[in-house]
């Protein structure tokens, strides 16, 4: 095990993702991946009286579902790595406080699934823990309220805008067991090419995604074709085209192998989401639901999951700041 190249860690004893559990809202369930989600929500409010409380309940249900599916008790989990999009990551706080598991609250914008899986696999591979949990969530209405307009406000969305996924994904990462293994990770650095348009997050994140992917390939001495798929978090339809284009300009052809959770989760023509899905819960639910199932069935044997985040707040962009992107790569193999 060790630090390899510029910013990659290759595990000699790869941690194992022994179980995964996903929850998704009604719109996500109606999408192309609907059958793959474990917990299919009927109601965006989950019986609560606010969007924020609904997202906490979403996390709670997902973690309970994961414990039940893995036949584990909360005492078996040694650490919990989680975060979300709400201010002060309160969705995670109130969703997880009653589980009594030591908690690391994370903020990596929509890259949180990658960030939590990177940290969880490091703590397990480093011998600090045997069984930990990592995951994230997002909620369309809570994100709209915090970052944009009230949900019932009658404005038009830009064509480059993406639809925040109401969903959550959590995984169990274990020192031993059966399942797909995390053989390497490449934590990403922040990349800022000067995008200021909050309605085009794909463009803000694409350079970070490409930077992390190319660095991972170089550090581990691999080609894009060594992977069955390289899957970014939420670049969306426009962002993924930009990513392929700039990777090409930098001398690597990612076309054919690069895909995106935000592109997979919705049928844009039927569901009118404009540029696809976004949010922490996008890569979270698509990995824990669809991709994990494909790995178990060996339809995919080696993937690079690259959740992507746009680092901004409504205040930062109003003060004229640009939107730096960040992306964390997790290499997952199924023997």
């Amino acid at each position: 095990m060790g630090h390899t190249g510029k910013q990659t860690i290759v595990f000699k004893n790869p941690p194992i993702i022994t179980c995964a559990y996903s929850s998704a809202g009604p719109k996500e369930v109606a999408g192309p991946l609907g059958d793959y989600f474990d917990n299919k929500l009927q109601d965006e409010l989950l019986g609560e009286d606010s969007w924020e409380k609904a997202e906490s309940k979403l996390i709670k249900q997902t973690v309970q579902g994961l414990l039940h599916k893995a036949n584990k008790k909360q005492e078996d989990i040694q650490y919990l790595f989680a975060g979300d999009l709400q201010n002060q990551v309160i969705a995670s706080t109130f969703g997880l406080k009653d589980f009594n598991i030591p908690f690391f609250g994370l903020y990596g914008a929509c890259s949180t699934m990658g960030e939590s899986m990177c940290l969880a696999s490091m703590i397990v591979a480093g011998g600090m823990a045997d069984l930990v949990m990592a995951g994230t969530s997002s909620h369309y209405c809570a994100a709209e309220k915090q970052f944009r307009f009230p949900v019932e406000y009658g404005g038009q969305r830009a064509l480059t805008q993406q639809w925040t996924v109401t969903g959550s994904g959590f995984v169990l990462i274990s020192r031993c067991g059966v399942g797909p293994k995390i053989d390497a990770i490449t934590p990403g650095k922040m990349v800022d090419l000067g995008i200021k348009d909050t309605f085009n997050m794909g463009a803000a994140m694409a350079p970070a995604a490409v930077d992390t992917i190319l660095t991972h390939l170089e550090d581990t001495n691999q080609k894009p074709s060594d992977f069955d798929a390289i899957i970014t978090g939420d670049l969306g339809n426009c962002g993924i085209d930009i990513a392929v284009d700039i990777a090409n300009k930098l001398g690597t052809d990612l076309s054919g192998v690069l895909n995106d959770c935000g592109k997979l989760i919705f049928d844009d023509k039927k569901q009118d989401t404009h540029c696809g899905g976004s949010g922490c819960g996008c890569s979270g639910s698509v990995f824990a639901g669809y991709l994990y199932a494909q790995l178990l069935r060996r339809n995919l044997k080696k993937i690079l999951l690259v959740p992507t985040g746009a680092l901004m707040s409504p205040g930062s962009t109003q003060q004229g700041n640009t939107i730096p992107g960040v992306a964390h790569a997790v290499s997952i193999i199924m023997d």
Binding site: V151, G154, I195, N200, A203, L214, K249, C275
Partner: protein, 147 residues
């Protein structure tokens, strides 16, 4: 190792090339249609009130109130956001859009209490319209006074 800085200069162009373009003609036609329907409805109401004996001034006032009420009800029943999505500026500019911006904020922030939630954030969207509308009317008033 390929360096991101290599493409920084041309990046804005790359983004522009891959971003979907707004359909200005289609959007303008829809805005014209929806805006026109709202205005025709207003005129119809105004004529109706005058038919039942209201003065012109009174009917204008009651028409405004009626449109605000209608917009508030449609917002509460999750309809106005769909009208807004279709009509764009056509449903944003009339007084119904103004009412929608306030009712939607009220609905969203009610959960945080009537004082610090709804009361404080009711004008989140409508606030600038009132501020700059008032300033503009003061300036126009001063000009009017001297002309």
């Amino acid at each position: 190792m390929a360096n991101m800085k290599q493409i920084k200069n041309e990046y804005q162009e790359i983004v522009k090339m891959h971003s979907p373009k707004n359909k200005v003609m289609k959007n303008s036609l829809r805005a014209f249609l929806v805006g026109g329907v709202i205005c025709t409805l207003g005129q119809g109401l105004s004529n109706l009130y005058m038919y039942y004996g209201m003065s012109k001034d009174a009917s204008a006032m009651v028409t405004t109130v009626s449109l605000i009420l209608l917009s508030a009800i449609l917002t509460a029943f999750n309809v106005y956001d769909s009208v807004g999505k279709y009509g764009g500026a056509g449903s944003l500019i009339p007084i119904t859009g103004f009412a929608n911006s306030m009712v939607s904020a009220a609905m969203e922030y009610k959960k945080e209490g009537y004082i610090y939630g709804m009361g404080a954030k009711l004008f989140t969207i409508a606030g600038p319209v009132i501020v700059f509308g008032t300033i503009a009317s003061v300036i126009i008033g001063i000009i009017y006074y001297f002309v």
